[in-house]
């Protein structure tokens, strides 16, 4: 405790003023560590200081309004939405639906029978050759990301995000290499977009996409999993900052069956939460083999 901090608790005016000085310092985040510790111990025991902190915090918030106004960067909300979409807590569909306990998503009847026609190649599972292929794909993607950042002279934030994405990609691949079940699913689109999904550990998906339109505050992308019979459920939502390549990791609320014929698809959906079924055309699709 600093020399000026109160050393005992009483109710005389001078003593209260010393605690109020600490309440002000607390509201302004200006206390020394030892004073902060002393005040944190005292605060729950003192209604007067509790009231003082409440009042001073409100005054401090008013001071915040004095700051010069600045325009919000477009990238800010996109970053928040992307992080929310990638957060560990699953976002359940619809508004007003309690999130816990998580309920298994019910398959929704959507016609995905057209997807296999879009898929030129297949997948293999669990082989050393494919793990090597996955590493090669990752190395190429990481190279593209780094090279793209250099060539395009991206802003610092973009370069940093790309480095983070490259790190995530590497993590996804390394995870893949350690898993007995690891599937690589190429994704193809009808409008030039492409991607690859690395499915590991039952419910982990490393996804690399390129040439998708940047997501915005109104819409981002959803990865779907389904069977050739038409049932489909959302795996996760993700944001795309630009043409890419862009890397994301998703955790499926339920294990992903990596069986031949199972499908993966990507659509662009409005909102932030995971919808129950696709409402827009499929942009990317691929199948396990």
């Amino acid at each position: 405790m600093s020399p000026d901090a109160p050393r005992d608790i009483g109710r005389d005016a001078a003593h209260d003023e010393q605690w109020e000085q600490l309440a002000v310092g607390h509201a302004l985040d200006a206390l020394e560590p030892e004073d902060a510790a002393a005040f944190a111990t005292h605060l729950p025991t003192c209604a007067v200081c509790g009231q003082s902190v409440t009042e001073m915090t409100e005054v401090a918030a008013e001071m915040a309004l004095a700051a010069d106004p600045v325009p919000l960067p477009d990238t800010l909300w996109r970053g928040i939405a992307s992080a929310v979409a990638a957060s560990d807590r699953p976002a359940l569909p619809g508004n007003g639906v309690p999130a816990q306990p998580a309920q298994p998503a019910q398959p929704t009847e959507v016609d995905l029978t057209a997807i296999p026609k879009m898929i030129p190649g297949g997948t293999r599972r669990g082989s050393a050759r494919l793990r090597a292929a996955a590493l090669a794909v990752a190395a190429v993607v990481v190279g593209l990301v780094v090279l793209g950042g250099i060539v395009l002279g991206a802003r610092y934030l973009d370069v940093r995000n790309q480095k983070l994405a490259a790190g995530k990609q590497l993590a996804a691949v390394l995870t893949c290499s350690e898993q007995k079940t690891c599937s690589v699913v190429p994704l193809r689109g009808t409008s030039g977009a492409s991607g690859v999904a690395l499915v590991t550990g039952g419910n982990q998906v490393g996804l690399v996409v390129r040439d998708l339109k940047a997501s915005d505050r109104h819409a981002s992308y959803v990865l779907w999993e389904g069977g050739p019979g038409g049932s489909v459920r959302g795996v996760g939502r993700f944001a795309v900052p630009g043409p890419g390549p862009h890397v994301v990791r998703l955790t499926s609320p339920l294990p992903l069956p990596q069986a031949a014929g199972r499908l993966l698809a990507v659509t662009r959906e409005p909102g932030l939460t995971l919808p129950t079924k696709p409402t827009t055309p499929i942009l990317l699709a691929g199948a396990f083999t």
Partner: protein, 205 residues
């Protein structure tokens, strides 16, 4: 985007509480609504403290992710949502500026105390916010200079009370007294002014 501005401060508090409850139900639209309402003042505060666009974005992103992950940390019994969110923003920004010590070394007390004049048309800003900002600035300007300097160094500079004592060459007790007197005076002046006609709902640019 539709104007979500409530008619009164009590109306704003009710709406804020409903939106926070919506986040508890994993409603992304509720988070976006609160971002629309408070993202700009949070970002402006972080920019002011950090003087760095990237670090300020990191702070605001962290604030809204914390809100998304832990909406239950907001207790309406302990103050308004705006003050809670701005206090969290301030806390995280101060943590960041203290980690980035070189940021503070470049700033003088003059920098910390300086505000630009009334906003121009390049920054979309509702009339209420502009009026409120000028009132708060007037209240700060009305403080005795030593009190204003101590508060600005602490709040916008991220300095601790002891650091301010070192910067100003004053005894620590004097700094604490000046900060207390300044905050009391601000509280009294701002309560006389009142909250204004509406709330700080600020659509994104």
């Amino acid at each position: 985007m539709a104007d979500r501005r409530p008619a009164t401060d009590s109306g704003r508090a009710v709406e804020d509480a409903a939106l926070v409850a919506g986040i508890g139900r994993r409603d992304g639209a509720a988070l976006e609504a609160l971002y629309d309402r408070y993202g700009r003042p949070c970002y402006a505060l972080a920019r002011r403290i950090l003087n760095d666009e990237v670090l300020a974005q990191d702070v605001v992103q962290e604030v809204f992710l914390t809100l998304w992950g832990h909406p239950d940390r907001f207790d309406p019994e302990r103050g308004s949502f705006a003050s809670w969110l701005l206090a969290m923003t301030h806390h995280k920004a101060v943590d960041a500026v203290r980690r980035e010590e070189n940021l503070r070394r470049r700033r003088t007390s003059v920098d910390v105390l300086h505000f630009t004049q009334a906003t121009g048309p390049t920054v979309p800003d509702e009339a209420w916010s502009g009026v409120r900002r000028e009132r708060v600035r007037a209240a700060l300007q009305g403080l005795p200079a030593p009190q204003r300097e101590a508060l600005a160094l602490a709040y916008f500079g991220g300095y601790t009370q002891r650091e301010i004592a070192g910067l100003t060459g004053l005894p620590l007790g004097t700094v604490k007294t000046r900060m207390l007197l300044g905050m009391r005076r601000l509280r009294d002046v701002l309560s006389e002014i009142g909250p204004g006609e509406s709330a700080p709902s600020e659509a994104r640019s």
